[in-house]
Symmetry: C2
Subunit: 568 residues, 2 copies
């Protein structure tokens, strides 16, 4: 029997669920309502619209082949009725209808439903900082604000910009403003690293250093205390700084739009997101929800996670469409994969970062490898940095994060590991992962395999490592005389350091180590260094064999120091 | 107790096993023997050496940081003794020693072992074609022949070349000769497609068309009957052609070097490869083998497979190294992943192609999707073609193949699916696969997810498809009057076809279909066409609803016709 379906929200999940359902049940009726006039747009394209990569906002609303996904499109191509400029005010679960208001005529009416879909999305998290209401302060939340921001920029009103929040939307916006418009941009982040909760402090420092080279400024561990200006924002005040600015973008995360669901008595999580089961049903089995307004299970931690991403919304939308038609599709949970372009870098991750893993109660270690992305003899290649987070007792892989050159080399590797995370792979499984090999694409022993192998060696206690930040601490303590930095590379590489720091930096190439064992200082802690951490590991094994065990190996080697911007 | 390890073969697997073992048991002794002088080189780099991308053969023998992996390197950096120019003649399993001959002094001696590793590699499969011994006929088997080929090319002795074999080495060589040296190159392949057994005929045609645009010539379904010339090869003769040539490269596959193992009474497979268990042990538990001389289990078919790839050898080498030291590492089998650069294309695959799946006894279908590799609004993007092979009765994914632009976008997606193949995913799992999303890298509904969804729709009988080759047959029969080609795109796209073929090609845009249903011919088979197969699927659903069921949807649409080079 034909059904009446009402969908609230016409961006990403709503249209996907509606269209899938209509293909399965063409006889049924679907009405989709949205407060806005512009519907079904790719909100994740906003930074590219602002940068100018995407010139016209309508491009974000088109299909791959340039059909505008507007009201008429859904009616004619999809046989779905869309009511734009229409706000859903109230869900009556007893009567099974939705009270809606036409925002143009102010008329109210009710839409009866057999099944209801909530695709109410998210809103940018707000700050209650004094001055946040000044003109010139924006969130990157929808096309309307994006259009205003771009107008101001392109009409030359913005010389300086300040972004509150160092998450990926904040960094994408920093690139858009700096790279294309030459705006002097500062990012203020409350924690001590960029992309907090997403990647380690080590990888975050690589990102920060790269962005600094691109002339973005940062204030970490700074909270914006107030915004000042005469009607329009003119400066931003932190505990110890006052920064002049013409534009402020607030990018401190998103919150689920769950008010309608809450008012209807549906289960809402402590985070404020709608609770759904694996079929994407809310606590009322006739009401489905998905996309930015729900939370789903993180398959690593087993706990609820919040992933406001267009890709999640699309996949969940199809599942809802199938289930509306009586299907039994299930959403398998998420590992929280993401990727972001940051100038010439790509940053990608899946699963838990080391800090999050520990916060979630895992006794975890992380392992970092730097290696060429392609065969080392292939002319076009670049260094890629990957980090694997592993549970100590079981060797189970909890997450993987990476920073590499632009292109799909980093994200492709992250995806290959992300795909299997739900099957609880161990470091050994990653060491054996079969990746397609050919010199223009990868190395015979690909960095992913090297990463798994290195993690195994660390877990076995054979490779005892320090990170760059630990190295930095040891380096600062060098005058104590308790530490010697042993350069395991050839003399040519070591020479400048030995000349600069003759008391602290010693050269002993790994391939000469056995022959020159007598030269190794035996009463000091040795920090072993090579270009990427491979030869220094080899040296560590040899030193162990000789009974010299107070050694540590710099993960990622000198390559990592350089990427950090650590100038020694 | 320290052991004596002998390793026969010093390329890829041998060195990897030896070095891993030495790091675990530094006290033990390892001797590695090789017939050749040049050892531990990346043989997979040979096409790039010949093309000129790699200028010097020694680059293929270096570590990432330019250390030459020669005899002295292994002695000093790894504490491994290497005997080059030394041939292993015989294994005495009773006495546990290997009889070897120094090829310079002709002296014979024995090397005692506790454990032995066979890393004897492969040799190019030979042809017994008359004239195959003429000068100018080469296999791309080792550095020595590569150096000779490059000398001839770079000294201007080669204007025309002929390659026997359309597998990936043959195609890599065709690119190397054409692209960098402008040599007029013909590839002769005995089957009816390029990359037989690796990808479908449909994808292979895309590759062929691209290579033809790059001026490589092909003779499919041709067998070389003889080679002629006066001392040096001058022409190649097939049943109906005589092709002038200065150089012939034979690339018809590889065969395991298993003679030594066979003579020692070890188990050898019908294919002639050494049989090993998951610990990489031969039928003699004190003898390990791996790399190009063994076969391993294909985890899709459960049958033995042969994968002579440097990446396999490296991973297996580490497993052998671990097990030599008393470890319990296991090789998990293979899904046969590969990737190859072909001019501006990348071609990648994992698991079974549709033909191989059927040959292995699976009742399988294949599903093809063409879609942009990145968000459709992102300025830099390109079309990517993926094919999924699925078992009909279970929906189990048996393989995935793809052709896309150069870069890691294609191989990254293949790897993401390849990783989970051993867990027996279904099409639904692929539809739900979580890939990291951001507009510069992928689409919100990524092609991988679209592929899984499309396969589900095909299995459900909702999407009834034809491939380009089936389309081609229907097109050839168009004068019969039984078929109408219904263009579901906008009039602008359809117009030129309608004008050219008014009897056969009708325009009915998908979004006008409901309103213009009366214009649909009801007594003919309808072939539904759009740009990529998405809107024509939508049209098929609508026609089904109206009771018009004799329809088929062209997979990949007009985009696929263009990639095929089908000129209609």
């Amino acid at each position: 029997m034909p059904k009446n379906i009402v969908v609230i929200g016409a961006v990403a999940l709503g249209p996907k669920a509606a269209c899938r359902f209509k293909r399965l049940e063409p006889d049924s009726k679907v009405v989709m309502v949205d407060k806005d006039e512009i519907i079904s747009y790719g909100g994740c394209g906003i930074p590219y619209f602002i940068s100018g990569d995407v010139s016209d906002p309508s491009q974000l609303q088109e299909t791959s082949f340039h059909m505008l996904r507007d009201k008429a499109f859904f009616q004619e191509a999809k046989d779905i009725e869309v009511l734009t400029k229409t706000e859903a005010l109230k869900i009556d679960r007893q009567e099974k209808h939705v009270l809606v208001k036409n925002l143009i005529t102010q008329e109210e009416s009710t839409l009866p439903y057999d099944k209801l879909v909530l695709a109410t999305g998210s809103r940018p998290r707000l700050l209650d900082t004094p001055g946040i209401d000044l003109d010139g302060v924006f969130a990157v939340s929808n096309m309307n604000s994006a259009v205003v921001i771009k107008e101001r920029i392109s009409s030359g009103q913005v010389d300086k910009a300040l972004i509150i929040g160092g998450g990926f939307i904040g960094l994408e916006m920093a690139e858009a403003l700096t790279d294309m418009w030459g705006i002097e941009t500062t990012v203020v982040e409350i924690t001590d690293q960029l992309l907090p909760g997403l990647i380690s402090r080590n990888l975050a420092q690589i990102v920060k250093h790269h962005m600094e080279e691109k002339e973005v400024s940062f204030l970490l561990e700074h909270r914006v205390e107030r915004l000042e200006g005469n009607g329009k924002v003119e400066r931003v005040i932190t505990a110890d700084k006052s920064i002049e600015t013409d534009l402020v973008i607030v990018a401190v995360g998103a919150e689920a739009n769950s008010d309608l669901a809450r008012a209807a008595g549906l289960d809402i999580s402590p985070r404020g997101a709608i609770v759904v089961n694996s079929k994407m049903q809310t606590s009322d089995p006739d009401i489905y929800a998905g996309g930015d307004c729900v939370e789903v299970t993180n398959v690593i931690s087993g706990k609820p996670g919040y992933y406001p991403l267009g890709s999640m919304a699309n996949r969940q939308g199809r599942i809802i469409g199938t289930n509306l038609a009586g299907g039994k599709a299930e959403f398998p949970g998420a590992v929280g994969s993401f990727v972001v372009k940051i100038f010439d870098l790509s940053v990608a991750a899946a699963g838990l970062s080391i800090d999050v893993a520990r916060r979630e109660g895992f006794d975890a270690i992380s392992c970092l490898v730097i290696q060429f992305d392609r065969a080392h003899f292939y002319p076009e290649k670049d260094l890629l940095t990957l980090e694997l987070v592993v549970e100590k007792s079981t060797g189970r892989v909890l997450g993987i994060q990476g920073v590499g050159p632009m292109g799909e080399g980093t994200v492709g590797r992250i995806n290959a590991v992300a795909s299997i995370l739900k099957y609880k792979p161990t470091a050994e499984d990653i060491g054996n992962l079969e990746l397609a090999y050919s010199p223009p694409f990868s190395a015979a022993m690909d960095i992913v395999n090297a990463l798994g192998n290195t993690a195994e060696n660390i877990l076995a206690g054979k490779n005892r490592v320090v990170d760059v930040d630990e190295f930095d601490e040891l380096w600062k303590q060098r005058e104590s005389g308790d530490v010697v930095f042993l350069d395991c590379r050839g003399w040519g590489n070591a020479e400048p350091f030995v000349n600069k720091y003759p008391q602290h930096w010693k050269s002993l190439p790994q391939d000469e180590l056995r022959a020159r064992m007598g030269e190794v200082p035996r009463d000091k802690k040795l920090v072993l260094i090579c270009n990427t951490g491979v030869r220094s590991y080899e040296a560590q094994v040899t030193l162990d064999e000789m009974g010299i065990k107070d050694t540590c190996n710099l993960q990622g080697g000198v390559a990592c120091l350089k990427k950090w911007g650590l100038d020694i």
